[in-house]
Symmetry: C2
Subunit: 470 residues, 2 copies
């Protein structure tokens, strides 16, 4: 008799599978205020690892972390016209503080361009102060009408970078550098997701930007997820906040700016790219726990052996956790670690001790086999790198299989029902884009004929990637 499935199968109901996985793997709960979320320790552990890996790359790109206030005077938001139009419907507003009604209402930051620019205009005086490269890890609030955990939440966690440069070229190159060396590198080499780098169309650009670069991943159901964006802001905010510098030639010049962000949405990408019908599968380079060593029974010798294996793997550089909760049935614990997607499970029972072996269960390729305990230290780092490569290969394979080259808008719309369509931008254009939007299909990004990121929307040979999206 077949076992009852732990989760609703993806093929049956993908959204339900997603919600069940988040709940059963103990990643997050809904918060009491509609649209907020509680990130549970295992879910937060994934986010902490994302932060560590991203933060190192951001610092390598020369940016420093800082912290700007949560509260922004409402008047700041209105200074850049497109920006306020983009965010006004989503704002949370504080009207009372310290028991009194406030004279000017305060906005809870939906993003920090305005408040950061207020300070950039004070800090930047001379060309010597440029480039000014700042990043912030923070919570932001955007009122959400159709909330869904990690995907669309009223409060979410993110990093937002904000930079000021002396020239257009320097700002453009820095936005591209973050896009490529920080975001793309992290998403491909750590998250194991085969994201596409592209350029947003005018319709999909950030409110206040002159160019938005994006990274789009294909999820398990063929939809697209925008996993990060890097914007060229031109001089829009510099004009609104009068951010000028004295050039080497002694002239006052407006700065050129960028902003760029990634958020807890990356957790959605992780789940929807790599999850299967048994739960999550976490790429080893990201995994807060790469291997769990389970004691099958609460026997003293077993517990001692489990600790010994854990210590040896730890010394070999593996992020390892012991599971000696032998008052919980072993089968339940095994299912729980499968749900959580820990790459490797090492199971030790009394019979294994006699043989000098342990059972090695691999979550990513699947399968389970006995191995000699003495060989684990040598075997594991290799197995983990294989698993990492396998996840990326599967992500690549999916994108290849479910992307169709099309030549008409009708074909593109049809292909977008189950995956992605590629269509020449010259064929589609802004009107075709509007027509697709009516069918719930959007242009995720433009890519150049050679697969690179186009420098202009109208660059000959540009291809639009269109699909349904989260």
């Amino acid at each position: 008799m077949a076992k009852a499935p732990v989760l609703t199968p993806r093929a049956e109901d993908f959204p339900r599978w997603y919600q069940e996985l988040i709940s059963k793997a103990e990643l997050a709960d809904n918060g009491p205020v509609r649209g907020t979320m509680v990130i549970r320790p295992y879910g937060y552990g994934l986010w902490e690892r994302m932060q560590q890996e991203m933060d190192a790359r951001i610092k390598a790109a020369g940016a420093s972390n800082a912290y700007f206030p949560l509260f922004i005077p409402q008047s700041y938001l209105t200074r850049e016209a497109e920006h306020v139009e983009g965010f006004a419907p989503e704002l949370a507003v504080v009207t009372h503080g310290g028991g009194k009604e406030l004279e000017e209402p305060i906005v809870v930051r939906p993003t920090s361009e305005t408040i950061i620019n207020e300070y950039f205009s004070k800090w930047v005086q001379s060309y010597r102060d440029l480039p000014l490269l700042i990043n912030q890890w923070a919570n932001v609030v955007r009122w959400e009408m159709r909330p869904r955990v990690f995907l669309r939440t009223t409060e979410f966690l993110w990093q937002e970078g904000h930079t000021a440069h002396a020239t257009y070229e320097d700002a453009r190159d820095y936005a591209a550098r973050i896009h490529r060396d920080v975001y793309h590198d992290f998403m491909v080499n750590v998250l194991g997701i085969d994201v596409v780098l592209g350029r947003k169309t005018a319709k999909e650009r950030f409110a206040g930007a002159i160019n938005t670069l994006t990274l789009e991943g294909m999820m398990g159901d063929g939809k697209a997820l925008q996993m990060g964006t890097s914007h060229e802001l031109g001089q829009n905010f510099a004009k609104a906040f009068n951010t000028q510098y004295l050039s080497k030639d002694g002239k006052q010049e407006l700065v050129w700016q960028t902003s760029w962000g990634t958020s807890t949405r990356m957790v959605v990408g992780l789940i929807m790219s790599h999850g299967d019908d048994s739960g999550l599968r976490v790429p080893p380079r990201l995994a807060p726990v790469q291997a769990v060593v389970l004691a099958i029974k609460g026997d003293d010798q077993v517990i001692a052996k489990v600790r010994e294996i854990s210590d040896r793997l730890l010394a070999a550089g593996v992020r390892v956790q012991v599971d000696d909760r032998t008052d919980i049935p072993f089968g339940r614990r095994a299912v729980d670690w499968e749900l959580k997607g820990v790459p490797v499970r090492i199971e030790v029972g009394p019979r294994d001790l006699e043989n000098g072996t342990a059972m090695l269960a691999r979550r990513i390729p699947g399968g389970k086999e006995p191995v000699r305990i003495g060989e684990l230290e040598a075997l594991l780092p290799k197995a983990l790198e294989e698993d990492q490569a396998l996840l990326l290969a599967q992500s690549r394979e999916r994108r290849k299989d479910r992307t169709v080259d099309t030549t008409t808008i009708e074909e593109a719309a049809e292909a977008a029902a189950t995956g992605w369509a590629r269509i020449p931008w010259a064929t589609l254009g802004p009107e075709g884009e509007a027509a697709l939007a009516e069918q719930g299909v959007s242009v995720r990004c433009l890519v150049a004929a050679d697969g690179s990121v186009p420098e202009r929307d109208d660059q000959p040979g540009n291809v639009a990637i269109v699909s349904r999206a989260y």
Copy 2:
């Protein structure tokens, strides 16, 4: 002719010195909304190092990080009577979201006991789920009438731990463990501040706690700064949120709880303990930059040598930064690094190259002397450990010199004008405490006769430490 001082001397005007240091060392700015602050990269770098060191200790104490929402339904706050009374006057209230007036106003978290307990009551079912040990790094908001950067700000950054235990003893021991192994260890061994561990009197306890443990540091002006607290919450929140577990005997029991926090206030302790009239002095174990290597002139050979020294120190495990901004006068840069309190400055000019030497300036003991470049790698780690020890010794010395044993309330009040007074709690008592409060002097904590942390307020031999405080 003597140089004009960089900062107002401490002896002349301590509060002004503090503000000037924060501004000139580029630690922080005031935010646009009254009471908020902008933490600039160098100030945030100090906080990041505090987070790293604290986080490792918190995890070693078995707690896991998680994240709970910023927004709390107003009704939650009212469930624990003392708690709401303590926080009601300080709340920021969101009344509008997504363009509409909200049905129930939302409070921006002043602390997370209530919302965390709502989830603890769901997550805790059985004795197997205990202890539940959670920590959160977050921003909190408490409306501030007399704001001062880092000290009292409407928004501040902190960590807050929240735990649930099966027994009173287990909760009590865990609150004490955090107090000692996390907070005290970090503050003494990393921050280099000779904090006193003690117990708060009933008057000074956290709103909703049955016991509050504190760490008090003596600042450069003799006042006390509360640098962290660890609370036993008893079953107050467990009753309010009905957090129960099924015991091994099959009975429903209420949990016992703790909460504990430290914040960006620790930056105040750092500045006011170690700062001098030339600026900040950062203990090497904390310092984001332990050594700066300065090129005196923009000569190619000098720049190459500065890079080489930096690389070698980096390889020797020193956190090092290069300063090759030779378009800024050397003197100004030297003063700037003194203000920022970087422990060691290595200055390299063309003449030094000829001699194979560099100037080594030590910020903490003071002084400057030529050293052979080849000896720097061996010399620096030793010098940094000496500097670390010196700061702690100076902090100890100050507390010893400025603490007076007293036997009457009058004597205690007098001593508190310039430092701390010790007075038997049996002599002072709650009435004496109230009398001192009228003169702006508070009981910072009680310590036992042997210097340990008392288990009860009325333990024979308890000594009260009284002083003016931030």
